[in-house]
Symmetry: C2
Subunit: 434 residues, 2 copies
């Protein structure tokens, strides 16, 4: 008899070694953000379907797991639209729930409010290697802070969080949507086409400058304007931080003073951080970020071992207003939790000692011995002797035990051995830093 | 404009103070079980609907949130059964996923396998005060240990976990399904009616002895047999532990020697534990436990402040066999996570210090000061001065800050005050033990 015990298509079971890595990442991140005053919140997995389909989720709205209404008849009447059968859906991100949460609870929250969310989201994507239909997101948001103190703090805290997880050698890239908007405007693009401009520029990594140029031509921009815009980007790339402000003012007189001042402040803060904590950063005029709701600075953090960024975020001052009767400034960072977990080595070694008890040792003596050993601070797992001794030791080693203690019954006298190490002598450790 | 930001019906948002209590409970429980060798696993929220409706979940199967198949046409054809529209559901407990998990992954798991699961489950219950459609369960299981070492260890570990959370003064109650089965058999009940007998006895708390008697009569049992059975229960209630074995053998000669020996072992272990760690326990012949899958000893832990038990479990040697081609002995304990969280006081005090910065302090100086203070080990949250000073201090106090540091710009010189406490002088603390 073969029983199918596989998890639902596109989902996965997490075994102890995987959960240990995930817990390590989660705990490291949480510890760092707590030092900055961020507090964890939680929202339900289910949201009303109308909220999830409100347009904020872009392409993700096509991937919602939809939940059937309760109390339906066994058979559906002819011509019933499927949408009438559903009322809830599983969240596809943590941003839609956060805006609802803030709208619902802002009266009880401090201002500014520093929020940390870590939790599962669901997307009915075509299953493929390394991608799952349930995965974790990790979002950090500062709501109610209008100045770039938010941006600079989030970059500092997130760089530290990534270092705590074991990701050293990261680089921060910074840009501003207002710079990109001014660039598009100077090139002669009407405001209504700016989103298209952003989307094309965002593809630079994949399609290169020539690809960007030809797609911009497809938007109806004259070749001269495109050249002028791309030339400006080229000039700004790789400028020394101190020169960015002047260069921007020169290149784009239509860019507001506020945006330039904000960039000056953030870059000064990052420069100081580069000295204090060896932060590595750059202004990147090609950085766009995918979501449409950003209104100011945007940023990403990359790591040499990864092709895509490990974290990204930006300011979104007009989003909270969709769930309140007024706008509230906000800035957020999203850490690629699953990407980071995938990067870390899985250590199977545990700090638990096996108490290997011969079968003739009474249960009460096994438990009492384990209790004594635990009271000395040592995690102890009791295991009955079975099969050949050497083979069982190999099994213990494979299960990640670093050592064992042998418990025997010698004619009624219960004796235990010294602790004996198993297999490789290397120390017990958590996943290694990269 | 009034926007509805409430969470989906029957669900709730968790604010920082609530999450802090939940994290405290979770961390305390996890720390204790880790000392016994238990390891966390995770399974997906979604399971195939056929698995969830396999009969193991009893009444809970009526409360499943069902998920619509992807790729359906916009309109459903006439006469389509609703069940054809769904393929997945949200898990209603952690036991169905655990049996599937073990069946799917047993080749990679040690034997015995000590599992710790904490996570959300979903039930479409009628919303009512204090009950939610998404709530956490916390299950601990020892799979592959045939002896009552499992039972005794689970009771020890769980009592310690509850004490670590702050629940002192708990009492363990112990019984055995094999005792109850022998009692039913001796009373003349055919095996097929035993489940009915268990269900009625389980209601003793609510309907009293007379109620139990009359419902047993409804099962068709002669009055004399009922009296004999209830008399036997009365005799066994409150017996000294040392006498339970003999009393059971006397009262129920049809009860197997194995069950009596198991009770003798467990009670000896609990007696030792009563000495070592002041465990309080009793044999309770009226204890049944709700689920049908128990095969041996069952147990609950109660706390004087709660009407229902805070944890319960038992042996279920025939359940894993439903997802494997062989039976695997197993024993588990489930901790009433939400009930415990509800019991604990919510402390709003935080260990974070507010760095209150006057508006003329440059952002770079605010961040650098915060960085210096954090490097001394102190969590620091930066907050801009706004409104009247005293009113802002009150807001900080209400937000849970215990102290603040004032950052000023005196003609270009940045100065910070000593740390000053806010409000009540009592120390920062986690939820108080009961």
């Amino acid at each position: 008899m073969k029983i199918d015990n596989s998890p639902a298509r596109g989902t996965r079971d997490l075994l102890p070694a995987s959960v240990a890595v995930r817990d390590h990442v989660l705990e490291s991140i949480t510890t760092v953000y707590r030092r900055f005053g961020y507090q964890r919140i939680e929202t339900p997995a289910l949201e009303d379907i109308a909220r999830l389909q409100g347009g904020q989720g872009a392409e993700n709205e096509k991937l919602i797991f939809q939940v059937l209404r309760r109390g339906l008849p066994d058979e559906v009447a002819a011509g019933t639209p499927v949408r009438d059968l559903i009322d809830l859906g599983l969240r596809y991100d943590l941003t839609v729930p956060l805006t609802r949460f803030y709208g619902n609870n802002h009266a009880q929250l401090p201002s500014p409010f520093r929020s940390l969310q870590v939790g599962p989201v669901w997307r009915a994507e075509r299953p493929q290697k390394g991608r799952y239909r349930q995965f974790h997101q990790c979002d950090i948001d500062l709501i109610g802070e209008p100045s770039v103190l938010a941006e600079a703090e989030l970059i500092e805290a997130t760089s530290q969080a990534l270092a705590a997880v074991g990701l050293k050698g990261t680089t921060v890239r910074l840009s501003d949507r207002r710079f990109l908007a001014a660039l598009a405007e100077a090139a002669g693009l009407p405001e209504s086409s700016q989103d298209g401009f952003f989307i094309i520029l965002d593809k630079l990594d994949k399609i290169g400058w020539d690809g960007v140029r030809s797609e911009l031509e497809g938007l109806g921009l004259p070749s001269g304007s495109i050249t002028a815009a791309l030339d400006k980007i080229a000039v700004l790339q790789g400028l020394a931080p101190a020169k960015i402000g002047d260069a921007l003012a020169d290149a784009l007189p239509n860019m507001g003073a506020g945006a330039i001042e904000d960039l000056a402040t953030t870059t000064a803060c990052l420069d100081r951080l580069a000295v204090d904590q060896s932060l590595s950063w750059q202004f990147d005029p090609t950085l766009v970020r995918g979501m449409g709701y950003y209104t100011g600075q945007v940023f990403e953090i990359s790591h040499p071992k990864m092709r895509s960024s490990v974290a990204g975020g930006g300011r979104y001052d007009k989003l909270i207003g969709r769930s309140l009767d007024r706008d509230v400034p906000a800035c957020g960072f999203s850490i690629g939790f699953e990407r980071i977990v995938d990067l870390l080595e899985r250590g199977t070694r545990r700090d638990t000692i096996a108490l290997l008890a011969e079968t003739d040792v009474p249960t009460i003596e096994i438990l009492a011995t384990a209790r004594t050993l635990r009271s000395q601070g040592q995690p102890i797992e009791t295991i009955r002797r079975s099969g050949k001794f050497g083979a069982q030791l190999t099994r213990l080693e494979n299960a990640g035990f670093a050592a064992f203690i042998h418990l025997r019954n010698d004619d009624g006298a219960i004796t235990r051995s010294e602790m004996r190490t198993l297999g490789r002598p290397d120390p017990v450790e958590m996943p290694r830093p990269l």
